[in-house]
């Protein structure tokens, strides 16, 4: 390594250590985000408040509702009429209502069976669907129980056996934490790099660098290498937290994880450098980095929302979002293993994007002030 490059890198490290905002973005932000998502965010619904309206009290009704009381998914409360239950649903104190009609017992013995009404608060549609699934589950378990008690074949014609692979307990932490690593790497790679590069322009230090015999590749490498190392530090911190604090299983190998992360980090750094070669002040660079990299890493990467379900144009856009490929690799390496049929094509896409971003940066940055 040349003496010039060496000097630049050393300078960058001293600055990182002395500048609290770099440290904040590189280490505090991952910590805060992981804590928030690891502890704060969960899609695992348990103890959903469920209102039960029984218009008449009968042994059959209490037998039926017992299966809901027993379920760990529900926290039940009783209402004597539908009106009060709907009010409670509107004010948010319950999420769904089950209504057993007055003639529940009578109908139960009729050939058509007794209709049970399930009223869902559809505002949070995701929760509504989950509740509907849980209610079906409770019904099935009541049927089994009832058929055993009465010795009758009271079974549904078709029974669904679910097998959730790779995450059988459906812990949302297991996919949120790996996905979040992509967001964090984007923050360090793109946002931090764009900001520090813009800072050099703003403070006039870039002008002083440009008149030295530094070549442009040295200027670019001088930023790439330190922030690459910083990013890998952030990664190590995140992975450690994922494994030991949140107990996310790592079924693939550590070296694949780090190799692919390195690849993504280079892509993210390429984005950061590209942004700063266009936006030479911190304010604009920050805005562009958040809109262009941070937000897509959150929404368009498949981290939370399923890409296949997005409209056509949006799906097309996701193809240039580097985080999309990285999230796929992360979720696979953590939860499945070294599944090369997923890793190779996605890593290939990352190589391609890295080449494009770095190439554009190269083309856009000249050793001039204009």
């Amino acid at each position: 390594m040349s003496m010039r490059l060496n000097g630049l890198i050393r300078k960058e490290f001293i600055q990182i250590i002395r500048d609290p905002s770099s440290i904040a973005i590189a280490f505090l932000m991952p910590l805060v985000l992981l804590m928030l998502f690891g502890y704060g965010v969960s899609l695992d619904s348990e103890h959903i408040p469920l209102g039960i309206v029984t218009e008449s009290n009968s042994a059959d009704a209490s037998d039926f509702t017992a299966s809901f009381h027993a379920s760990r998914y529900f926290k039940t409360s009783h209402f004597s009429d539908t009106r009060g239950a709907v009010d409670a649903m509107m004010s948010g104190s319950i999420s769904a209502v089950i209504v057993l009609r007055q003639d529940f017992s009578k109908q139960l013995r009729q050939p058509g069976g007794s209709p049970v009404q399930l009223l869902l608060n559809g505002v949070d549609e995701n929760t509504a669907r989950i509740i509907s699934g849980y209610v079906d589950g409770s019904l099935q378990s009541w049927l089994e129980h009832a058929s055993a008690a009465r010795g009758l074949p009271l079974e549904l014609p078709v029974k669904v056996e679910q097998r959730i692979w790779f995450n059988s307990e459906l812990r949302s932490r297991n996919f949120l934490v790996p996905g979040l690593i992509a967001v964090i790497m984007t923050l360090i790679g793109a946002l931090l790099t764009a900001l520090v590069m813009a800072r050099e322009w703003e403070r006039g230090t870039m002008e002083a660098l440009l008149v030295t015999p530094l070549s442009m590749s040295e200027v670019i490498l001088g930023k790439l290498i330190p922030y690459f190392l910083l990013g890998m530090g952030g990664l190590a911190l995140s992975v450690a937290m994922a494994l030991w604090l949140f107990h996310v299983p790592l079924r693939g190998s550590l070296w694949v994880l780090f190799a692919c992360s390195a690849l993504f980090l280079i892509t993210a750094l390429g984005m950061g450098l590209l942004i700063s070669s266009v936006a030479k002040n911190q304010f604009i660079a920050g805005q562009v980095a958040i809109i262009g990299t941070f937000l897509p890493a959150f929404i368009l990467s498949g981290f939370i929302f399923d890409i296949d379900s997005m409209p056509g144009i949006v799906r097309l856009i996701t193809h240039v979002i580097a985080a999309r490929y990285y999230v796929a690799i992360l979720q696979t390496v953590f939860l499945v293993g070294d599944e090369w049929s997923v890793i190779l094509p996605n890593a290939g896409a990352l190589v391609l994007l890295a080449a494009v971003f770095l190439g554009l940066t190269w083309k856009n940055t000249r050793k001039r002030l204009e």
Binding site: L8, I14, T212, K367
Partner: protein, 573 residues
């Protein structure tokens, strides 16, 4: 070709323009010049004359629209990397990394310039001694004073002994003592290493220190040659005028109106007059006239004066303020602490109505802190402070209605137009209705701002910005005017115009309090206080202060000599 080898820089037909907002600015218009080896060449010109553009072209940081610039025998545009390997360049805001220490900054530039590690210790020592920064090796660059930063910037630019040194306004905002040190470093380089230096500056007195000057104005070269060549035609046309009957302000106003007078300027106890021809101004009773030697600035003013319009009425508010009896500003044992550090300690003085009072001092001497306390921007830790008869600690709002404030950065809302700025400050001071619109008309006319009333103030030239800032500060006809380095970076003509207004205000009864780095401007004040390390070193009229510095080898000290002498003798004791 032989010719170009003797030239450090030669430029021919050089043009460069920029897009600024909707306007296209022609920074350089087909200029040609040469810079000789082994001497100090001064690039002199007011703000926005094109100095920085020229420097950046020479450093290969910009590509010219047309023409070429050859630096050390190489084309600065095509062989920029090679050129950059042989020159040292110090931009206007030198790129010091403020979160790196002095030594770390030197390390970085030594790495970048490829100084072999073995040579470094001796090189660092030499540079640090030269810049007298040795005691501060481990201090963060951000914690250095302005002068020290500039010296460190220079040391970084010199790390590899360049054959050509480009210095872009190295002395802006630097106090006289540090300025002298910078200059002595430059001279030593030229003397000992035969370095060629191209140095740009807006301070005309620095031109006299150069071997050759290139005078740049609005993107064109006005003149090149030795500084004498500009002074020469003015020999016998400069006079010092004193009057026993008139105050110096009235005398100046009087002389400025006389036929044949190009420029009249208050200078200590006399008025300095530049005449069109070699005859003294028309004599009057009680007036004594003495010939003086021309200075560079005289030549500059004589050359450009007719290109500018001069304005300024004799009465600024259309009325004179009732003369205040007793002091208008009073400080009694004022102190300000920051933690354990006394930025200002035990400062007492008073200023009476209609006086122009100057506050001088090196960077970090405590003058800004004092100034900020006077304006009510900072609470004193101890002591008494009365402005316009009001204790600022209690009735700040009432006192503020009586003061006008103009800061060194001409702090205006840069994306608001001239009119919007004036309107806002008018209403912030509670002007409305008829009074408000009258004052607005007054400001437009008095400061000739009508032509730019819709221009966004960030796009104004520095001279106009300064005018607008003063107009904003005067909207509410304040009794007291606070000016914090009001003329930094502004060219001499705009400075004259500005001081003419200040003088008029003072003779109308407005009290003016001013801080400045220009020792010239200190001469315009009635009284001065010079501060160092938080307390007042000396206080008196300019003549009194100069008289205190008379010694054997300095029979006629300038204000700057007096200032440097005072600071040095203090440092010794």
């Amino acid at each position: 070709m032989q010719e170009s080898v003797n030239r450090a820089i030669s430029a021919s037909n050089l043009s460069k323009s920029f897009q600024a907002g909707k306007r296209r600015i022609e920074a350089l218009k087909k200029i040609s010049f040469e810079v000789r080896r082994g001497i100090v060449t001064g690039l002199i010109g007011p703000d926005s004359a094109g100095k920085s553009t020229l420097m950046r072209l020479a450093a290969g940081l910009l590509v010219p629209d047309e023409g070429s610039i050859i630096v050390a025998g190489m084309d600065a545009t095509r062989e920029s990397l090679k050129v950059q390997g042989t020159i040292g360049y110090m931009p206007q805001r030198f790129g010091l990394y403020e979160d790196l220490t002095v030594l770390e900054n030197l390390d970085l530039y030594a790495d970048l310039q490829g100084v072999p590690p073995g040579e470094r210790p001796s090189r660092y020592e030499a540079l640090l001694n030269m810049a007298s920064l040795s005691p501060f090796k481990d201090r963060l660059a951000g914690n250095l004073s302005g002068g020290m930063k500039q010296k460190l910037g220079l040391a970084c630019a010199l790390i590899r002994q360049p054959s050509l040194l480009l210095l872009d306004e190295p002395t802006v905002g630097v106090d006289p003592v540090s300025r002298r040190e910078l200059w002595s470093i430059v001279y030593r380089l030229v003397r000992e290493n035969n370095t060629s230096v191209l140095l740009s500056t807006a301070y005309l007195d620095e031109a006299e220190r150069c071997d050759e000057v290139i005078l740049l104005h609005e993107g064109r070269v006005l003149q090149t040659g030795c500084p004498e060549s500009l002074r020469e035609p003015l020999k016998g046309r400069i006079f010092a005028v004193k009057s026993s009957a008139m105050s110096k302000r009235n005398l100046q106003a009087d002389l400025a109106r006389k036929p044949g007078v190009i420029d009249a300027l208050i200078h200590g106890d006399h008025v300095r007059v530049v005449m069109e021809r070699k005859n003294p101004p028309d004599p009057e009773p009680d007036m004594t006239v003495m010939p003086l030697a021309p200075r560079f600035e005289d030549g500059f003013v004589a050359m450009l004066k007719d290109k500018r319009e001069t304005v300024a009425a004799d009465e600024i508010f259309g009325r004179s303020l009732p003369l205040q009896s007793g002091p208008v500003i009073e400080l009694d044992q004022l102190e300000r602490r920051f933690g354990n550090f006394y930025a200002v300690k035990n400062v007492s003085f008073s200023v009476s109505g209609g006086e122009v009072f100057g506050l001088l001092g090196a960077n970090g001497a405590g003058k800004s802190t004092t100034f900020r306390m006077l304006c009510g921007l900072l609470q004193p830790s101890n002591g008494k402070l009365r402005v316009a008869g009001v204790d600022l600690r209690h009735a700040a709002s009432k006192a503020r209605a009586k003061i006008g404030y103009m800061s060194q950065k001409f702090s205006l809302y840069s994306n608001l137009s001239v009119l919007e700025n004036l309107r806002f400050f008018g209403s912030a001071y509670g002007l409305s209705g008829k009074t408000g619109s009258d004052r607005l008309d007054w400001a437009m006319e008095e400061f000739s701002l009508s032509s730019v009333s819709d221009t966004v103030s960030g796009d104004l030239s520095l001279g106009y910005k300064q005018r607008l800032a003063l107009a904003c500060a005067l909207m509410h006809e304040p009794e007291i005017l606070f000016l914090d380095e009001p003329t930094s970076g502004v060219d001499p003509l705009a400075r004259r115009e500005f001081w003419h207004r200040i003088n008029t205000l003072a003779s109308n009864g407005v009290t003016v309090m001013v801080t400045t780095h220009f020792m010239e401007e200190a001469e315009y004040c009635d009284r001065l206080a010079i501060m160092a390390e938080g307390s007042i070193l000396t206080l008196g009229t300019p003549s009194e202060i100069k008289a205190g510095a008379i010694s054997e080898h300095l029979p006629e000290p300038s204000m700057e000599d007096a200032f440097v002498e005072l600071i040095r003798s203090r440092e010794k004791s």
